[in-house]
Amino acid sequence: MTKKQDIRFIQGNVAMVEGAIAAGARFYAGYPITPSSEVAEASSIRLPQEDGLYVQMEDEIASIAAIIGASASGKKSYTATSGPGFSLMQENLGVAIMAEVPCVIINVQRSGPSTGLATKPAQGDFLQSRWGTHGDHGIIVLSPSTVQDCFDLMIDAFNYAEKYRTPVIFLADEIVGHIREKVVIREVDENEIINRAQPDCEPEEYKPFNHTENGVAPLAPFGDKYVVRLSGSTHDERGFPCSRPDNADKFIRHYTDKIEKNYKDIVKVRKYNLEDVDITLVAFGGSTRSALEAMNMARKEGKKVGVLQLVTLWPFPEDEVIDALINSKAVIVPEMNLGQMIREVKRLNDFNTVVQGVNRIDSMAITPKEILDKIAEVENESSRIFG
């Protein structure tokens, strides 16, 4: 029997809510902020229709705290914000990492720093999404480039959160959040949905942090037959505070390892025309749209240009970027910041490949023409290697 499909023409922000509900999310706590407010509005309408709950908190600090609490009670939970609110969430993001509570944080990026230009797009939170909260940790960050991504990738976001007991950052931007496109809201097969593992031991034997190698311990919800101790302080396997150096070392490595060592499961990229390229455009989020258009225009001019879209931003898709650096004469990184992702690309460039950025921070999207101009510039400057 075929599954139901609903074809709609909606904003990315609204598609994210449908994706979250399809993934099984039933709790939203948030504080409205442009350009993410439609996520709050759609959640307030849709969640109670599905026996879920929407609550508007007094600030973003409380919002992320409430979703962590709700997830600890067993409900898949999410919040949405933009730059200023994302900054406020950083401390409690660390609680979700330390207590290993699954949740999804949507950041619809806008121009910053500070209040910046509230209604305008940017991609300036690329590094903050990785390193914003203090202390060593791993994190999963996914970035949509279409309204369909807002639905489909949200399911991945919740699946990763549940599988690895971790917060997942859904790093959208104003372009993707506000654009309206056709989207297929499909009924998701239950095999596609991952729910956090549940313990099957005797209650007195349960330890919420008794992890397997590169995996995570089952997480029982509050109110079940198990007693659960969760803590943002450094703790032992039972959840009691523990200041032993060997214990701290073990757990802090675990927060990174459980993400980094599952790289192959987590990293998603999309490759366009990479079989035979001179120049690869490495892009993410809304800028991918311009990169794809630039690629099509360049191909019409007979130039061998391809696009590597990073869907997973963190852990950084190193293997795929290294392939691009090896297989291309030049790599161009268009991003709406002064060069955050290009730092990662250059870090991996042991191959003397030309790496250049196309950057805008004036609140306007990068146009395909600007990328084409950069392609021409790189070709001219590097005429020796291009032959």
Binding site: A29, A65, S73, N92, G232
Partner: protein
């Protein structure tokens, strides 16, 4: 379960200083758990950071130990996602009333069915006795050596004004009355708040001429008046007193109960749309 059975004895002795009031309040809480037949499984104790934020180390129910000032926000999510749980939020005056003051008044206004117990020892004990949002004017702390020039919150008055259906202030000196307030608060459907005036002989007491625990307890006792007799006092006289008693005790429909109506309305719209 007996009160004693809610304690994590293997973690004793308590981390708190000799003469601290926290142990007395904690014991009153677990005595109430026994009276109300709470279980370890259906109860969540939520804490923030500070001396009283260590309270969950010694209680063997479900626990959630969060960040400084945010315990009520974590507790809000825990309760709303599973209204069957007994959610008890333990905070100090620095944690719950200073850095977390905004969450406190909004929790009181929102009326989620959690019980919050603020132990108010008039200063930040954990970090060395700096002034908090409840330190009285003119008192000495490690960051107000020349006398404190700000005024402390009347916390119970604040929370009552924010709309909480149950608000009471007791003291560690009057532990029997305090325990009665905690019991009533736990039973109350909706947001309930108990403020426990407590002694910190190590810091606040030492810097204000009361370094013996009994000295600060006596000071609390001598400066305590009941809610009814406080009505006769002028504003300036009231400010230097601990006004003990109930500030609110009324019925008010809680958030989760009201939200059932939201779900009913939402489903009508959804069905109508089909």
């Amino acid at each position: 379960m007996k009160a004693q059975e809610f304690l994590v004895k293997e973690k004793f002795p308590l981390f708190w200083c000799a003469g601290c009031g926290n142990g007395s309040v904690m014991h009153a809480i677990v005595r109430c758990f026994e009276k109300l037949n709470y279980t370890r499984e259906n109860t969540v104790v939520v804490t923030g950071i500070g001396c009283w934020g260590k309270g969950d180390d010694y209680i063997n129910t479900n626990t959630f130990h969060g960040t400084h000032g945010r315990a009520l926000a974590f507790g809000t999510g825990i309760k709303l996602a599973n209204p069957e749980l007994n959610v008890v939020v333990l905070m100090g005056d620095g944690d719950g009333a200073t850095i977390g003051g905004n969450h406190l008044i909004h929790a009181a206004r929102r009326n989620v069915d959690v019980t919050s117990i603020v132990v108010n020892n008039l200063n930040y004990g954990m970090t060395g006795g700096q002034y908090s949002g409840t330190t009285p004017c003119n008192k000495t702390t490690s960051t107000s050596r020349y006398g404190h020039i700000e005024h402390g919150f009347d916390l119970s008055g604040l929370v009552a004004a924010a709309g909480a259906p149950y608000v009471a202030r007791g003291s560690v000196y009057g532990i029997v009355q305090l325990e009665k307030f905690i019991l009533e608060a736990l039973k109350k459907k909706g947001f309930s708040f108990v403020e426990a005036i407590s002694q910190c002989p190590t810091h606040f007491g030492r810097l204000n001429g009361m370094k013996e625990p009994a000295g600060m307890l006596n000071w609390i006792k001598e400066n305590s008046v009941s809610v009814s007799s406080a009505n006769q006092l002028s504003d300036s006289e009231r400010e230097n007193k601990f006004i003990l008693g109930k500030f609110a005790d009324k019925e008010k429909e809680d958030y989760s109960t009201k939200y059932l109506r939201v779900i009913r309305e939402a489903k009508k719209i959804k069905e109508g749309g089909k």
